[in-house]
C-alpha cells in the first residue's frame, strides 16, 4: 500500500469534561479535520485502562489518541496525571512488543480548544500515515499481560 493511499483508523479516547467538549466545539465551529479518528467518551482520561488501548490496536486501529484536560485543570483534580503516567509506561511496553510508541499519543485540550483538538487530530493522522499500517504481531500480545505492566 502506498503511503498516500493509506488511510489509518485511529481511536480517540476523550474525557467528558474537556477533550470531548473540545471535539464538540470543533464541530460547532465547523473546523475541519481528517475523518480518520473515531471517538469514545469516558468520564476522565484517568479511566483509560491500558487494555482499552491494546484492544483498539488489536481490533484494527492503527493508532490511539488519548485526550484529557490540561495538567492542573482536571475536573477530578489530578487524575489526568495518572493518565500521563500510564501513557509513558504504555509507550515503553509497546516498544518492547515492537510497536512504535508514537502510535499512542497523549494530548491535552480544554473545552475551549476546538481548534487545538482538530490540529492534534491532524498531526496524529499525519504521524500514523508516516508510520504506515500497524503490523500487529502475528502472535497477539497477551493483552492482560501487557496491561498488567502498566497498571495502575
Amino acid at each position: 500500500m502506498s503511503e498516500s493511499a493509506f488511510e489509518p483508523v485511529i481511536i480517540g479516547f476523550t474525557c467528558n469534561w474537556c477533550s470531548y467538549r473540545a471535539a464538540d466545539l470543533a464541530g460547532t465551529s465547523r473546523i475541519k479535520y481528517p475523518p480518520n479518528v473515531r471517538l469514545i467518551r469516558v468520564m476522565c482520561s484517568g479511566r483509560i485502562d491500558p487494555t482499552f488501548v491494546l484492544k483498539a490496536l488489536a481490533d484494527g486501529a492503527d493508532g490511539v489518541m488519548i485526550a484529557g484536560c490540561h495538567p492542573g485543570e482536571c475536573h477530578y483534580l489530578e487524575q489526568n496525571y495518572k493518565a500521563l503516567r500510564r501513557h509513558r509506561l504504555l509507550q515503553r511496553t509497546l516498544a518492547q512488543f515492537g510497536i512504535e510508541p508514537e502510535r499512542v499519543r497523549l494530548t491535552w485540550a480544554s473545552a475551549a480548544e476546538g481548534a487545538r483538538f482538530a490540529e492534534e487530530v491532524g498531526a496524529m493522522v499525519d504521524e500514523v500515515k508516516k508510520l504506515g499500517p500497524l503490523n500487529w504481531p502475528t502472535r497477539p500480545v497477551p493483552q492482560s499481560e501487557a496491561a498488567a505492566e502498566v497498571a495502575p
Binding site: V9, I11, W17, Y20, R21, A23, D24, A26, G27, T28, R30, I31, K32, Y33, P35, R38, L39, I40, R41, V42, M43, C44, G46, R47, I48, D49, P50, T51, F52, K55, A56, A58, D59, G60, A61, H70, P71, G72, E73, C74, H75, Y76, L77, E78, Q79, K82, R86, A111, A112, A118, W136, T138, R139, P140, A148, A151, P152
Partner: protein, 675 residues
C-alpha cells in the same frame, strides 16, 4: 466475551438535524445499515427523521418502545452533552430505564467536521455500530439518592457571600458564614463610590452587613478559617478554626475604649491598603460587623514589649468580666451542613513586581486600592486626594490601566473591572482636585449596562484617554527642558508617537488575582482550580455556579474576575441552587459510580491512594476495599487501575467500553490468525 446480548431489542434513530447532518451524511444509508447489517445484533427498528429532538421525534421513540418492545435505544444525532437528557427522558416516559439509551454523535463529530460524503457516512456507520455494541452492555441504573442537611456553609463575607447568606437565611434556612478577616464586608467595604452609578459603597453595603450580622438564621464566624471538610453533598462535616481575638466576643460591647487607649499605632496593611494606620487592638473600620475588636499580638506591647506590656486595653475595659483575655487560645468548631458556597474573593496584583512602574520606589506612584482608600471619606485622608506627603493635591494625574493584567509576563487574563474602575477613579480625582487626568489604556472595555455611558460622561468631563500600554514611569527627565516630577512614558498608539506625559501622581490599576492560597483552599473543598488559580465551575456557560463536586458552589471573584453586580447575581444564583437542593430534601445523583466486587478484591490497596475525593477506604476486618457511592464522582481512575478487575464503573464499565471499541472498528477488524 460472553454474549448475553442476544435477547435485546434495539431501536436505532438517525437524525437529519435538518440539513446539518443530512447534508453531509447519507442518513438513509446509515439507517439502512443499522436495519440490515445490525439485525443480527438485535436491531429491530431503524429510522431516520428530520429532527429527533422534536416532540414528534421523541414520540417516535416512545411509540416504538411501547409497540415494538424495545429494550435498548440508540440515537445518532448531536453531542450527548446537548440532548442525552432529552432522549433519556423519552425512554423513561415509555417505561424504559433511561440509562438503556445511548447517543452516537454524528453531527459535531462527523457532519460538521468532514466534507467527503462517502467517508462521513462510513464513519457515521462505525459510530452507530459502536453505540449499538455499547448499549447492548448497558445496565439499567437508578439515580443515587442522598438526603440533604438544611444548613449551609458560606465561605467568605464579601458582597457575593453576603448575598448568598442573606438569600438562604431569608428563605428560613440556617447559614454559617465564615470570614477570615475580623469583619465581614470584603473588598467592597474598602471602596468609595461604585461605578457606573457612583453609589457610595458603604451606603449600599453596610445595611447588608448589618442584616447578616443580626439575622436569626445567620451565624457569623469571623476571624476564622475552614480547616477541614469531610463528607459529601447533603452531609458535610466542616471543621472551622477560630483564631484568638483576645477579646471575649459575647461580653465585649464594642464601646471602643480599648482602641482609643491603645498607644501602639501601626500601618494598616489590610483595610487601609497600607496608607492608613490602626492600633494594636482594632476593628478594621467603623461599621465593622461584628463590632468587636481584634488584638494583634505581633504589635501589641504585651507580647512584643516583654515585661507584661502596657495592658491599657485591659485596664480601661468597662465590661464585667473584662473582655480582654491575653491568653485566649484558638478554637475549633464543627459544623454540619448540606451545601457549601465558596465566595473567597480575590487578591490585588502586587504592583511592585513591575519594576518599571516604580511602585514602592517612587513615592507618588499609588495603586488603585490606595486611591480608593484615599477617596473614601472614612479613609486615612478623609476623602482628600493627596500626594504621599499627605498634603499636596496633585495637579496632573496619570492612571495606568491593565497593570499586571493582559500580560504574559504577569497575568494573561483581563481583570474585567479595571477599565471601569479607572474611569471612576479619574472622575473622582477630577471631582476632588480639579487635576488634569490622563488614562492610559490598551483597549477600553465597558460592556455592561450603563458602563459605556459612564465612560462617555467622564470623557465629556475632560479626562484625557491615551491609547497605549505604559512603558515606564520615571522620575528622571530626558534633558534639562523636561519638567516632571514624574513622567509616564508611553506610545500614543493612535498618534503613532512616543510621548512622555509629566504628572505629579501615577495610579496603577492593578488587576485581580486569585487568592494566593486558592489551590490549597480548592483542595480542602475538593474542587479544582484552573492553572491560573481561579476555581473551575461545572460548565463555563451553562453552569457557572456549581462545581465538579456536588454540593459545593462558587460565587463572586473566586471563580473569575467580575464586578459587583455580577458577584451579587452569582451569589444569589448560588443561593437559589442551594435552596433548590434543600427544598428537594434529597438529591438524585448521576449513577456513574465505581463499586467494588468484594469477592474479586484481593485487598492489594493499589486503588486506595488514587481517589482525590477520599471515596475509597479499606475495610481492615474483611481485608477489602470499599467505595462510598455518595463521595465517588465517577472518574473511573480506580476502575482502570484495579489489577483484579474487581472495581466496576457503572455507565462506563469495561464491558461497555470494550464492546464500543470493537464496534467502532468492525469495518477494519483484523482477522485473528490461528495461534
Amino acid at each position: 466475551m460472553a454474549d448475553n446480548t442476544q435477547q435485546e431489542r434495539v431501536g436505532v434513530y438517525v437524525c437529519h438535524c435538518g440539513s446539518n447532518i443530512a447534508g453531509v451524511v447519507d442518513v438513509q444509508s446509515v439507517a439502512r445499515f443499522a436495519a440490515e447489517d445490525l439485525k443480527g445484533r438485535g436491531v429491530v427498528v431503524a429510522r431516520d427523521y428530520t429532527f429527533m429532538c422534536s416532540v414528534t421525534g421523541q414520540e417516535l421513540i416512545e411509540q416504538d418502545i411501547r409497540e415494538q418492545g424495545l429494550t435498548r435505544v440508540v440515537v445518532a444525532a448531536c453531542s450527548p452533552h446537548l440532548h442525552e437528557g432529552t432522549f433519556r427522558g423519552a425512554c423513561g416516559r415509555a417505561g424504559l430505564n433511561p440509562y438503556l439509551a445511548e447517543m452516537a454523535s454524528i453531527r459535531e463529530h462527523v457532519a460538521w467536521v468532514h466534507t467527503d460524503k462517502a467517508v462521513a457516512t462510513a464513519k457515521a456507520k462505525a459510530i452507530v455500530n459502536g453505540a449499538v455494541e455499547r448499549v447492548l452492555r448497558n445496565e439499567p441504573l437508578e439515580a443515587i439518592r442522598v438526603p440533604i442537611e438544611a444548613g449551609t456553609l458560606v465561605v467568605g463575607g464579601g458582597i457575593a457571600g453576603l448575598q448568598t447568606a442573606l438569600e438562604i437565611a431569608e428563605a428560613g434556612y440556617p447559614v454559617h458564614l465564615v470570614e477570615r478577616e475580623p469583619s465581614i464586608g470584603g473588598h467592597m467595604a474598602q471602596f468609595d463610590k461604585t461605578f457606573p452609578t457612583l453609589d457610595c459603597a458603604a451606603c449600599i453595603l453596610t445595611p447588608k452587613m448589618a442584616a447578616a450580622g443580626s439575622h436569626p438564621h445567620i451565624q457569623l464566624h469571623t476571624w476564622s478559617e475552614v480547616e477541614k471538610v469531610e463528607g459529601y453533598v447533603g452531609n458535610y462535616t466542616v471543621t472551622v478554626k477560630k483564631k484568638p481575638r483576645y477579646v471575649l466576643e459575647d461580653v465585649c460591647t464594642g464601646c471602643g475604649i480599648c482602641i482609643e487607649k491603645c498607644p501602639v499605632l501601626v500601618v494598616d496593611e489590610a483595610h487601609d491598603a497600607g496608607i492608613g494606620y490602626r492600633k494594636a487592638i482594632y476593628t478594621p473600620f467603623a461599621q465593622a460587623v461584628p463590632n468587636i475588636p481584634v488584638l494583634d499580638p505581633d504589635t501589641c506591647t504585651y507580647y512584643v514589649g516583654g515585661k507584661g506590656g502596657c495592658r491599657a486595653c485591659e485596664k480601661f475595659c468597662p465590661t464585667e468580666p473584662n473582655s480582654i483575655v491575653f491568653d485566649q487560645q484558638e478554637e475549633r468548631i464543627t459544623l454540619r451542613v448540606g451545601n457549601i458556597v465558596l465566595a473567597t474573593g480575590w487578591d490585588l496584583f502586587d504592583a511592585r513586581r513591575i519594576h518599571q512602574y516604580g511602585y514602592g520606589r517612587l513615592a507618588n506612584v499609588f495603586t488603585n486600592l490606595e486611591l480608593e482608600r484615599m477617596c473614601n471619606a472614612a479613609g486615612p485622608t478623609g476623602g482628600k486626594v493627596v500626594l504621599r506627603d499627605g498634603q499636596t493635591a496633585p495637579a496632573r494625574v496619570g492612571i495606568v490601566h491593565c497593570v499586571g493584567s493582559r500580560d504574559r509576563n504577569y497575568n494573561n487574563w483581563c481583570s474585567s473591572i479595571c477599565c471601569m474602575q479607572s474611569v471612576k477613579l479619574a472622575h473622582l480625582v477630577k471631582e476632588r482636585t480639579g487635576a488634569e487626568v490622563f488614562n492610559f489604556y490598551i483597549d477600553m472595555r465597558t460592556p455592561a449596562k450603563d458602563y459605556d455611558e459612564f465612560y462617555q460622561r467622564v470623557l465629556d468631563e475632560g479626562v484625557h484617554f491615551i491609547r497605549g500600554k505604559v512603558a515606564e514611569v520615571s522620575d528622571v527627565p530626558r534633558g534639562p527642558d523636561e519638567q516632571g516630577p514624574l513622567f509616564v512614558q508611553v506610545e500614543d498608539t493612535l498618534a503613532g508617537l512616543q510621548r512622555r506625559i509629566p504628572v505629579d501622581m501615577v495610579v496603577l490599576s492593578a488587576g485581580l488575582e486569585p487568592r494566593r492560597d486558592s489551590k490549597a483552599v480548592g483542595k480542602t473543598f475538593g474542587i479544582a482550580c484552573s492553572t491560573n488559580g481561579w476555581f473551575i465551575e461545572k460548565h463555563a456557560k451553562l453552569d457557572p455556579i456549581a462545581t465538579m463536586t456536588e454540593g459545593v458552589f462558587v460565587a463572586g471573584c473566586a471563580q473569575g474576575p467580575k464586578d459587583i453586580p455580577a458577584s451579587v447575581a452569582q451569589g444569589a444564583a448560588a443561593a437559589a441552587r442551594v435552596l433548590s437542593y434543600i427544598r428537594q430534601g434529597e438529591l438524585a445523583l448521576e449513577p456513574v459510580r465505581a463499586s467494588v466486587n468484594e469477592a474479586q478484591c484481593s485487598g492489594c490497596r493499589l486503588c486506595n491512594g488514587l481517589c482525590p475525593f477520599n471515596a475509597i477506604s479499606f475495610i481492615e476486618e474483611r481485608r477489602v476495599t470499599e467505595i462510598n457511592a455518595a463521595l465517588c464522582q465517577g472518574c473511573g481512575t480506580c476502575v482502570a487501575a484495579c489489577p483484579a478487575g474487581a472495581i466496576s464503573g457503572s455507565g462506563f464499565s469495561n464491558e461497555q467500553l470494550l464492546a464500543q471499541i470493537e464496534g467502532l472498528l468492525l469495518d477494519v477488524a483484523r482477522v485473528p490468525e490461528p495461534a
